[in-house]
Symmetry: D2
Subunit: 365 residues, 4 copies
């Protein structure tokens, strides 16, 4: 990239999340319109940074992408420049630190620095680059909404929308067939999606990692409804939910090497116990990847646009080592190092849990 | 039911299907508005008929239900009056013929006969009642669209819509992450949903029961795309698809009694083989019950309404032992006995398969 | 276009219609995959043909467009090569016959012929070119579904979906506020959209061009509902509906040159009369362009794909002067000259009208 | 209502808004589950309060209504107990103060007080009743999101969703036909819907009441795009937008008494000027009532549920004369008297406007 203008590099890291393209578009348009930068996007996240693979981002490239899912830059949730696979076998890879090679690329391309859009893992890498002197601004991305340094992340409301619509579909079948229908949603460490979708979709039971459940309490709720002639129940289970005395039972997404494949996650475990204890037909739906894809809802398109513009503003102001964040109705910046410190779990005294319990939803506690 | 008016009974049998309520509404409104009948609906399908459990259906009961999923009458896909559970244990039930008891109820309630909305199984029972002298008109219901006596059944286009939207969601993630994404949809014996959703959702591979697949052909398609720098593929698999040399591998929906549960259906089997043979990250989503629930799309609301009106018309004309059916743009009636004779599979010379292949979709053959 | 391959030109004419891109994609993919053609697309319909403006259509150009609205080729509903504007002023244009210039372009580009996707007007022009010796295959496009030579046209079910969803939205407000809500939909000469959307969306009154209405009958229906304590009504009006003794009152879409603009179409006329005669608060929504845009529903994506493939097949077979058409479940070809002969109006003995009346819908007759 | 329990009355006032039923459900469930109240709902807002028309709200009444639009209690935006129509003619009504009659009803029904869900007008009335000694808690309702005392109101995100989807539909037609498409949305005094929908839907121009526009600036933006070969533009206009030197031109929703009806609002005025000044075909769509109806999006269902629970909590705590409100991520209470003091307009230094301008959106200023 030979140019007289200032240069900026963007990359997206980690799992898919609706709104990534709206962020890329907003950064690029602001960089060009307002600050007169040239912008490049590294391909497939940190891998492109190490391998020096990138595309130029101009007004045409980012035109008409705000409402699309995925990321036009590609992404992986594997590659880490500080521990990069440079040899060995797929089973036994060898890792070396390729961060200096990445920094060399940044220099050779004449970039002032990077805006990195990613989750916990990617922002940790971003912080390490910042500590090595690379000017960095971060944009938080987590569909689970579990980053402590921001109120809401883009993609979350789209995931809630998808899960809520799934509950609407399951509701009618549950009622017609007098069944318990279980929907397993994302949320390994925090139950935000389950909680929001459960309230929105009229769930009877919500099980989240923050509140270990007693299966008897769950069954009691179902039987209590049965006695009121409500012969069906809707249960939303976060994938990281666990019994009071139990461990996490994560559904395996990658097919294993034997056949047939063992795949039951927590949703299936809960289903089995309900069938056994309550004697009611129970069915499980695992929403899985449907939560990460598709067109972002307007809320997320707008939040992603605000994030992108604010990140570029912060970059132009030289506010490096920071991350953009939503606090109330305002976009602010926070130090990256704080952002990655801890997860944002659902507080037990949250008014959302209080509201859910008040309208009769059981958390199995 | 004491009355001076003619009486009609309705029931819904078999699995859930979007549009059932629109049929119930159309029969009821036509019966009351046009033919001056009183209408009752038996609760939970044939079980209500045997146990004499029913509700009165009037204009108020059926108001505002055309756009809702499920059935206000409830349904089961277990109970058969000719082989009814009257003793034993859940593991080892005892069956007796309770069809005379059902007929007795019909008489006692002063009903002229029944309109039965159901799939293959329920229409078989309907035919048996007709043979025993009960005036019957049938309305076909199968989300798989596999009844030979009608061009289209209600609920099918809603299921295609749901599956197609799921493909839209998976598409962006597949592309961003360079993955193969597999969507397993319904269709145990016929691949209509997979075929329609696959064409609509831009699938690269569609596997259906009618065309046993060669996994190497599937992998070839994926690798051919890879070489054209399309590093992702979308595969739609009907649950009844099977390899040329293989057997059907149906996903178990009921949780088993051991833990963790073995659940892998054909989608997971195909995923495992693609990962092994192509070395590409592959993910599976099983759409499951999401296909049977939710608000019917307009096409299905209209078809269900036409079916309901035509069924009542046929009933009033005394055309018993018949079933309503869509032929081209017309609603006609066909003998029930023909309707249940054979499945409507996807013909291998169908212009749909031809069209799919012409735009580059592989069936693994 | 210098090439050793056979050449084909495509163009889209007339108003916007969801599914155009799916047709373009299917023709292009089939032409390249199956018949080894090179394909170009003329820009902005017949204008591009006269002006020799085109783009090359290859696999990349048509990738990922099946689910998008609009047409990547652009369209106009003005330009006619046989009566082409070549001078004068916007107010008083001068027309000349430029069809020979168009034919010259076709020859110079080495095209074997054209596939023309368009409505009544465009297919008429297509027929004229065919009569002048140009090999032509037509693909019918009319959102109103009013072409007599085919059972259904793509785009129609998407328009019905949009109108039906609008009715769902209006329903709740009508009920909460005890109002009459009127939705004016497209359909200047045929009432298909109004009829389908009205049945699907639970309308109480449907007014279509085929059945001139008596406003007193409309008001009677509304008052009759009022007496049954249903203090709201939903009325769907096709833009071409008219009173028994009245003329068509088409809403003007182009702003006029005075201010404020007179815009009331038939929807507003009916609203005014209902308010006057029934004394009930009445509101009008004109759906307008919302019906023509957006992503096609799966039904339309599939039909458009089948049309595109069948058109290319017919072209390759040399079946010129024909148009593809859906008859029942089959795609067939019919002579273009027949296709453009007459409109397909809603037959008064249609089972759709019968069904609508049976469930209590009034047509004001 | 004879009872040993405490009593509570609810009513909904003002225009329709998605989420009203979710609020009613949450108040009722919390009142019964948590605080052991009996709850009644007055029919048709303040009219039911004056006329003593109500229904009992129990768990069954409010079951399954959270996802429905409208209000099961009915509403009007006319009736004011302090200035109630008690005589005269429709053209020249006579008003008297019937507030004492309303208070008498509250006493006779043994109610402790009221929870009033409504907008500016209804909350003003609520405050007056509070000042006369009636224990009142308010729940803010305004689809325009223009109440100063709360960050967001329920219904707003649903309206943005509807408007944003409409823009997606108009986009493809605009692009295919090289047109300017104008969408007129609600927002008489504040441009929140236009601003959010415009950013989400990729508008090129957004006109809001807070920023009087210069039509030449609007035309410049459109022509500038034209020169970049973007031969179409999308303009979102809030109904209360006005030119720098102009007055508000509100679209008349009620049909007038002459024919044809003058209906042009600001959208049509802007369209006319663009056609005249830019010479580009321009079309207007007035979204109207479609923005107020339909099923609330999950965000609104959740916010409405939190509001309902919090209002009942505040009522039970005796926090009368207050209104529930969202501040950041928390639900709090604020004095009613403050809530009704002033409108919440879009601040000119809002980061939303900054973000919109940064990505290239013009406000005509």
């Amino acid at each position: 990239m030979k140019h007289n203008k200032k240069g900026l590099g963007i990359l997206t890291g980690g799992g898919d999340c609706p709104g990534l393209n709206a962020v890329i578009r907003a950064i690029t348009k602001t960089a060009i319109n307002v600050y007169d930068y040239e912008v490049i996007g590294f391909i497939d996240g940190f891998k492109g940074l190490v391998e020096n693979q990138y595309i130029t981002l101009d007004m045409e490239t980012v035109s008409g992408i705000a409402h699309t899912g995925g990321t036009i830059l590609g992404t992986t949730n594997r590659d880490n420049p500080f521990r990069y696979i440079t040899g060995g076998t797929p089973e036994k890879p060898e890792f070396t630190d390729q961060s200096d090679r990445a920094i060399e690329n940044i220099k050779r391309l004449g970039l002032e620095g990077l805006i990195i859009i990613g989750g916990d893992g990617s922002l940790n890498i971003a912080q390490k680059f910042f500590e090595k002197g690379v000017p960095i601004v971060g944009v938080p991305k987590t569909i689970d909404n579990d980053l402590s340094a921001t109120d809401v992340t883009f993609g979350f409301n789209t995931a809630v929308d998808t899960a809520s619509e799934a509950l609407d579909r399951l509701h009618t079948t549950a009622e017609s067939h007098h069944r318990v229908m279980i929907l397993e949603v994302m949320g390994r460490y925090a139950g935000w999606i389950a909680l929001h979708a459960g309230i929105s979709g009229g769930a009877d039971v919500i099980l989240i990692p923050e509140i270990p459940y007693d299966i008897n309490k769950v069954v009691n709720k179902i039987m209590q409804r049965y006695r009121l002639n409500k012969k069906f129940s809707i249960v939303v289970v976060a994938e990281g939910a666990r019994a009071k005395d139990g461990e996490m039972v994560i559904q395996k997404m990658v097919p294993a090497s034997h056949d047939p494949i063992r795949l039951g996650g927590i949703g299936h475990k809960v289903a089995e116990e309900i069938e056994k204890l309550a004697g009611v037909e129970t069915r499980v739906t695992v929403l899985g990847h449907l939560q990460r894809g598709g067109s972002p809802v307007p809320y997320d398109r707008i939040l992603a646009t605000r994030y992108g513009v604010a990140a570029m503003d912060a970059f132009a102001r030289g506010e490096f080592g920071s991350m953009v964040s939503l606090k109330g109705t305002e976009i602010v910046t926070v130090p990256l190092v704080e952002a990655i410190k801890k997860l944002r779990k659902v507080p037990l005294d949250s008014d959302l849990i209080h509201a859910a319990k008040s309208v009769g939803i059981s958390f199995g506690d």
